[in-house]
């Protein structure tokens, strides 16, 4: 595998456990279903009102009124359930979603996440990101280690506007898996042949090393 985003998605897929209710953000998390072990059945939730998101439709299955939170067409799995936005976010806020996997612009060494706004950028919207990271039992962040400008994303403190404070549990980059253990950032795994030196060079946050 050479595509960094596929390395990240494949590793993130291994984090999901059978039977979990999972919400996948747009971008890298959307690639995760392609890497899931077929014996691990998870139930995909999308915040616009569906539990039981199926694969993208074949042309003859396309239903304009059936979309995910990225506004892309999806299908229903057997046993899927549909509901309104208030109910969907009650599920999220109420702690009924086991895991959310989403991207981030910055993660701090204390587990803060910034993923909705680049100051001076052309985006203006938070969507369901704040609800998801506060409400889900487990927040997994999938992101490349560096920005397109080569700046670290895993940093001492976020400089972009925060999405939430201290909520992140796992961070997966193309080179490493980090976990927050007792509020401390810990490097637990190297990916795709990366060395500790490679990870150190692209991480400005302080972390402890405890490779399994």
């Amino acid at each position: 595998m050479t595509d960094a985003r596929d390395v990240i998605a494949a590793r993130a897929a291994q984090e999901l456990r059978a039977g979990e209710v999972v919400n996948l953000g747009i971008g890298i998390p959307n690639r995760i279903p392609g890497f899931l072990d077929p014996t691990v059945e998870v139930f995909l939730h999308t915040e616009n009102g569906l539990l039981g998101v199926g694969p993208r439709p074949q042309p003859d299955e396309l239903d304009l009124e059936l979309i995910d939170a990225g506004k892309k067409p999806v299908t229903l799995t057997a046993g899927a359930a549909l509901f309104d936005s208030a109910a969907s976010f009650a599920m999220i806020r109420g702690g009924h979603i086991d895991t959310v996997v989403l991207g981030a612009l910055q993660i701090s060494e204390t587990g803060d996440i910034a993923n909705w706004m680049v100051p001076g950028g052309k985006a203006l919207g938070v969507g369901g990101a704040m609800d998801l990271v506060v409400g889900a039992k487990r927040v997994i962040v999938t992101m490349t280690a560096l920005t397109p400008d080569g700046e670290p994303k895993l940093i001492p403190a976020c400089t972009f506007p925060l999405t939430a404070v201290g909520v992140v549990k796992v961070v997966i980059t193309e080179h490493a898996v980090f976990r927050f253990i007792d509020r401390e950032l810990v490097l637990t795994e190297l990916l795709d042949g990366a060395t500790e030196a490679v990870v150190a060079a692209e991480t400005s946050a302080q972390y402890r090393v405890a490779l399994a």
Partner: protein, 229 residues
């Protein structure tokens, strides 16, 4: 009282300058396209406050109303899908309030349910909590969100009966049921209109007491250029 059955143009005729209008839909899915089209083409009401998850897309849905310069303020969770709205908000031409999507949905639900506000951990400690009361509840920092109501709600349902009972389809449900409950005047556009009794009572999502006017659809999602792409 039973809902009045009207054309889209008749149903929105009393929308006036300065009104606050809720509009259902997640993007264009579940949006009341015929009612939005009537508001754009047949009404001159301006200085509007629009409450909707998005401000349509460039030149589509609510994006048309924005281009006409008739939206004074927009309350939404995600403007990014309409770069023209982002630009108007950034330049100060459009007043805006950005609210997390779940807080927006719940505030509308609360508005329709007589709840005078609620404390939520979502957004606490972030820029979106600026100017709002925050307090710790059971050790968790929370932000106070007031209810959201409107003068008019424009909503869409696939199925409706002549009393105003509604049933939604697939992910076109989204904000429509909450908005139906939270406005002084609720106007529902329906794709298929039937006699009372035509929808199984257990299958009704929005009971008719919330719905004042019912309008047969004249514009469908499939008619919108680029829908589904």
């Amino acid at each position: 009282m039973a809902a009045q059955q009207l054309s889209a143009e008749q149903a929105i005729a009393e929308v006036k300058d300065g009104d606050t209008i809720m509009v259902g839909g997640f993007g264009l899915v579940g949006a009341p396209l015929s009612l939005i089209d009537a508001l754009v083409e047949q009404s001159t009401a301006t200085d509007l406050t629009i409450i909707s998850n998005n401000v349509g897309e460039p030149g589509r849905g609510l994006g048309l109303l924005l281009r006409q310069g008739r939206i004074r303020k927009s309350i939404a969770s995600f403007f990014t899908s309409n770069p023209e709205a982002v630009e108007a908000a950034s330049s100060g031409a459009l007043e805006y309030e950005l609210i997390p999507q779940g807080t927006l949905a719940e505030a509308i639900r609360a508005g329709g349910a007589g709840i005078r506000g609620f404390y939520t951990p979502v957004g606490a400690g972030t820029d979106l909590a600026a100017g709002r009361e925050q307090r710790e509840i059971d050790g968790v920092l929370c932000v106070l969100q007031p209810p959201i109501t409107a003068d008019v709600a424009l909503i869409y349902a696939t199925w409706g009966d002549q009393l105003g009972n509604l049933r939604y389809r697939r992910t076109a449900q989204n904000f429509n049921p909450a908005m139906a409950s939270a406005a002084t005047l609720t106007i529902a556009e329906v794709a298929e209109l039937c006699e009372p009794g035509g929808i199984e009572p257990e299958s009704i999502h929005t009971p008719h007491l919330y719905v004042n006017r019912i309008v047969p659809s004249t514009l469908r999602l499939a008619d919108v250029p680029g829908a589904g792409t």
